[in-house]
Point group: D2
């Protein structure tokens, strides 16, 4: 015969099996078990302190919960779909273990605020993990930037060669993008630092509880202000998936660049064999699958963000069962983003910049054009005119299939009489780079300043 | 020592474990195993027919594959993450079983076209299943419509009572929405009826293969026209998730209506206990969780659609590893939509319309207002004026807190002299309903016509 | 004859008209004109200070720019699609006005960093506006909460009546939701407080510029750290649209509640005629269109968030023209969210809570069930058992079609002997409410505390 | 004094100005005016035929409507925001022009079915236009494929060179992608071929109308079956935006390829000056902005799809004002996708394939590797082993920095004794291409077959 549901008092018949399968969440929310038990222990300690249950009962319950915690940690706890979710699985097992006294555990609380506290405890750990993973990636970027400070690459706009830059300058751009992501996760950490437990089904409870005490026990710095808001909001989850979307977006852009640099045509980088894969049919292939997967998985994270927002749009106030879906989207996002960060970090440590080939490829791009224009500006030609003159030189070269380097002074003078011998020095990538003296520019001095600043940031807690 | 990858010829070092975890798809693509084997058998039969491999070899390979098929069907095949995906797991096991001859299986094909054929075979089955599930739901709707043909409810616009309709008319609206979904899945079925196998890595193969023969063996009616397109497109998957989004959207709207009708304030329906759940804290609660979960899961399906489209936006041509993500989004969508259809079907069979209460609630809504206006139009008052007159009656009633039914003829005549005794018949919901003689309107005759037509449609293959 | 583009030096032929139409942004970026000019003036002042251009030239250019500013402010400036965007329109007009000297304006900057600074200046104003609008809405909520502190409504979970609460408690939940939105916009304000101007096309410039000086002139507190990051990132725009998505999501939920409360069946609220609309055919209709539009427009804002994220996924580094689309999505979001906030504020001031009717509707919901259970707990029955007993009472009432109020003590005792006369006081909503003494609960004392706290928050800058 | 709304009978006060601004749709739905009038004329003709209004009145009304039509076509009709939408603007002007008789126009219809018929008429025209634009693009592709049939390029997987193909084969892949888009729009055309007009506010009307007659007059082949479904569904709009998403996705992928091919490093194509743009700061730049904008605009179309789906998720049945947003998303999508198709078509006609450079770049890619493996298979080496052997050759070459072409027979024999002189012919791209004899492969014969087949398809109506 089918067991009776813990909430089954008013019901004639039990739920159908079909329904049990459809509504259960234990298959995925069991990962919250440890947090659920910890929150229950804190809850009981508070009930005891407030004399809502007596000392003896509370000790028995805590003993029972500790036993379950132990089972869970050893992977020996059996979760049963019949008990729907992690809360009822644990509560039911507790009652089974300690007897009727266990039925007192659910005094002054509801599953609605229980799931909220479980999620927040769980997310705290995960967010801290993720911040560490991003920082690791940032450290690798700093190391790469320091190690390769002498290597020049073209910068790109519109995927066309623009101007010469230090590869370190390029890399540091990602440091700063990632730093903004760190800030987002830190802000999210604040959002999960507010204890939700203790509001019951959303209106508060009939007991003289002490929520600040639970908060202290569980390490929350604040207590939620409004019970209705507490059980109905999932802002902290959406914020998380948004932060994950942003960091994955940044990783997807870095991946795209590296994929392009890894083509046979660019050949700017070599990825270590251990981080590439082959083809089942083409023996020649050595593919940057990792980078493609990072780029691709970004799409699924976005999908989860869209899903969460859509889930909540127009949802009537307070708790609705729709909210159960939040966990799947959150868990999946966490399971996606962490390996993406880890493996991007590993991969960056396993690429080599093919300097010689990069230099070869830069020859054809007229990437000193702005420098020549600026050289003319210094000869007192207004910028727009200087731009125009250099544009004509480029046009001439393209038609004659020549590079800047192949034009003599005589030919150059035809475009502007103000051009003189000095122009030779402009035809040097290094000169171009060191000329970028404006704050945030690519000169070596600037980039070193960036790196120094980055090192300071990374040390902040 | 680590095993060598099947494609590892050009590689110095093997992939890292980290990478293996990151790139593997076997944990989810193993559900394609049966299709993969069937496609391999068809491939071998073709190679034999075309004398690309000899009879003896082909027989051995087929025997080996059949053995694996058997293991898979009995859930006894061990999938190993090291072999990345379903294809290499099977191929590797084959080589292990039949020896070097097994290495001939991959002649004239690539994983790129293999995964495509597996997916299409799999999707065919799933789409056919889903069409059946929608049809079952449609049949239930027809039955409900027939059974409850006498029950009147208010129609709503802006969630305000509008005009009386037959509940059957309301229900049949969903029949037609679902019918459009059926058409979308049927069209999707055509998209997966084109054999992709046989194009190799995307450029065709160096063998005199006979793709039409494979198509015949596997039940495809066409063969793909262009190899590059074949390995790079996932249109059929996006189409599927789009169709699933549409049907889930329709289910979410039906759910929303039923949730509202299930409130204590509306009380239009009673859902059988077996299809509701209770609260862990509030003994009074009997909640429509199923409907909320259907509504909520729609959001995740949308997320997958967005994910798939984003995955493909701006993706360079032909195969990129990003495409691996398509499977997760497809499989999840399938695993979501099928139970949603099944359980909505079950639930509809377990709701009762609380006719008396519905009648009670209709009294206050002035829902015969249009009929009164039309009555005035027949007395030769232009519609816009008639509308204005009835508007004033409603205003009067609202201010005096009266219903139409409580106004006498004398009072009514104050709003228009043309009002006479005949107006009494208008104050009958039934009269209003049977007046809707226009095609597609809510009169009983019309609704019966709809039902008859629906029955014909449902019989079509 | 067609005019020559300002950047046309290297081009043989001019762009086609078709292309001009396709690529122009002036039709929408002209709203940035004022900011563009102000940034140009600051740029010139810096060039002068750094002696990059001489005093005379700078004065002439500033005079020219001031004239244009004046024209723009008076709506008399003619924007021409041929000049593509707001920058070139202004620069071209300047050259036209002040002659060749005007060509010096573009020294040491690029359109890439110009558009970034324009956007940030513009966004600062808009974000500040939006924060004010949210605060106005919060103030209205506080006023409503204070004014209606005595009105009781049912709280809902699963859209079923749950427990009695103060309407003020419900309203204050929205105060706190909106407060989180304010925080998001404030954080976004920090993101646009970093001067991007001065990095040229993304690598820095060849001039001894002083970006901190420009920052000071324009009111930025920081200067961007890395030029490549500066021109390629749009994080601040995505953040904005995310914050707008969150606030619109909150508004959509409030709208949904109010729409349901406005049904003929609930009748919890009356919306003033001036904030509803009628039907062209049904004279009886008075529809909550505003609330539906707020709910609906949320969807389009979400669409923009998805659009922005998708735009940037896998985009190669640094500037790509795709980024032009950011403006359309941002501007549309701004034009959507501001009226939504304004009109929700107005509407809230024009609704009346229909207290008597609400009380009527609460009778049937068994909403004191938890209180009865807690009453039993105080008689030393474990909560789970108490829950079960009350569940059986509810079941009994439902079957006999009775409310709690209609059961006598004798009958109640049949469910538990521990029930005694005291139970009468539980049958009072007010008792239930005042029992919710836990922090954040719905007791009047708690709600007043919430309101007092909210008033403090709202005063913060 | 403020004018009275046409539906204002029951209202004490008029709507506020604020509300008028918030709810109006005339600023964007005026583009439907012509269709609205045509549908009104058909409606009146039907009312006359059915003797619901008399001949004289109907003639006057039609005359009035024709006059308005004329004004609209000449852009002389003044739309007034006070009258909310296109329907009331026209109806009000009609009453103003023909007097009280005009008030009869709205007999037996509602704005809810009016907007539906307007949209469907409008969409029919637009869908037909778009199909033509796609076909034009397909024709250009066919022409390009024919013209460049001799040019070889590498195919790519993972953006790494894979195997040699004809550029025509690559191009034809897009023909087939676009063909699937055409089919989607054709299917959408069927969805808007069902007359919605005549169902009133969603329940049918009290008049003996003849909807089939209106359908005939307006060119619809069917009449909608269920009135509730008719006014509440927007499936046809979502379908449209989905089809637009798909075609834009295809264009975005083509754009990505062309952008990459246009880099200084690939240099596979040259885009005519008229279809590129320059930089305001870098005189060297010639950027593929068009392609970037096509890629970027895809994101906004996706956003609209997401918006539409979210709009409808969980929306209560029948008409809700949220649906007004559908028009903005549809119109914007139309205004986006059409120029994208036109300009991609123009651009394709203005690119040149730089054959010599492509050949140069192919040298380094080992793209005959599969052919060598297949050559070994024909020497009776199982495919997997052959794959392994070639993999080792590639590894050797990479380490020695050599191409295949630079290895002598002696060296090759070290990898497999079965290699003989014949292998020389494999080292020819042309040989590789012509070996791809399997259906759908890249051999010239196959590609010509594709082109011939495409030409047949394109001629279909």
């Amino acid at each position: 015969m089918k067991k009776k549901k813990l909430w089954g008092g008013r019901f004639k018949s039990n739920t159908s099996d079909l329904l049990d399968d459809f509504t259960e969440s234990i298959s995925f929310d069991k990962r919250l078990a440890i947090y659920d038990i910890k929150a229950s222990i804190a809850h009981i300690l508070m009930l005891k302190k407030q004399k809502i249950i007596n000392e003896l009962d509370s000790e028995k319950i805590i003993k029972g919960l500790s036993k379950i915690l132990n089972l869970v940690q050893k992977n020996k706890f059996h979760f049963d779909k019949f008990y729907e979710d992690v809360h009822l699985n644990i509560e039911n097992y507790l009652i089974h273990t300690v007897g009727n006294i266990g039925k007192k555990l659910h005094t002054a609380r509801s599953r609605n605020d229980q799931i909220a506290v479980d999620m927040m405890l769980y997310m705290k750990d995960e967010i801290n993990d993720i911040i560490k993973l991003i920082k690791n990636l940032q450290k690798t970027i700093i190391q790469l930037a320091e190690k390769n400070i002498k290597i020049i690459i073209p910068s790109y706009t519109h995927l066309k060669q623009a101007q010469p830059i230090l590869i370190s300058h390029y890399l540091m751009a990602y440091f700063f993008k990632l730093q903004r992501d760190v800030e987002k996760f830190k802000s999210n950490l604040n959002s999960v630092d507010i204890l939700p437990l203790g509001v019951g089904a959303g209106v508060g409870v009939n007991y003289p509880t002490d929520r600040k005490y639970i908060a202290k026990l569980l390490g929350f710095s604040k207590v939620s202000e409004n019970s209705i808001d507490t059980v109905s909001q999932r802002d902290y989850i959406i914020e998380f998936i948004f932060a994950a979307s942003m960091v994955s977006m940044h990783l997807s852009r870095l991946s795209e660049d590296l994929i392009i640099w890894n083509t046979d045509e660019f050949k700017f980088i070599e990825i270590d064999d251990a981080f590439t894969t082959g083809s089942s049919i083409m023996p020649n292939k050595k593919n940057p699958d990792i980078l493609e997967l990072i780029r691709g998985r970004t799409a699924k994270i976005y999908g989860n963000l869209m899903g969460m927002l859509t889930l909540l749009k127009g949802l009537p106030s307070s708790y609705n069962r729709d909210l159960q879906e939040d966990k799947k989207m959150l868990f999946e996002t966490i399971d996606y983003i962490k390996p993406m960060l880890i493996i991007m970090n590993e991969l960056l440590q396993n690429i080599t910049f093919l300097e010689q080939n990069i230099m070869e490829k830069m020859k054809t791009g007229f990437i000193m054009a702005v420098d020549i224009a600026d050289y003319l500006v210094k000869k007192n030609i207004p910028f727009r005119e200087a731009h125009n003159i250099v544009g004509k030189i480029v046009k001439f070269c393209t038609e004659k299939n020549k590079t800047f380097f192949e034009l003599g002074l005589k030919q150059l003078k035809k475009f502007s009489k103000k051009i003189d011998n000095e122009i030779v020095k402009i035809f040097d990538y290094r000169y171009s780079i060191e000329s970028k003296v404006s704050e945030g520019g690519t000169s070596t001095a600037n980039v070193k300043k960036e790196i120094a600043y980055a090192k300071k940031i990374i040390e902040r807690v």
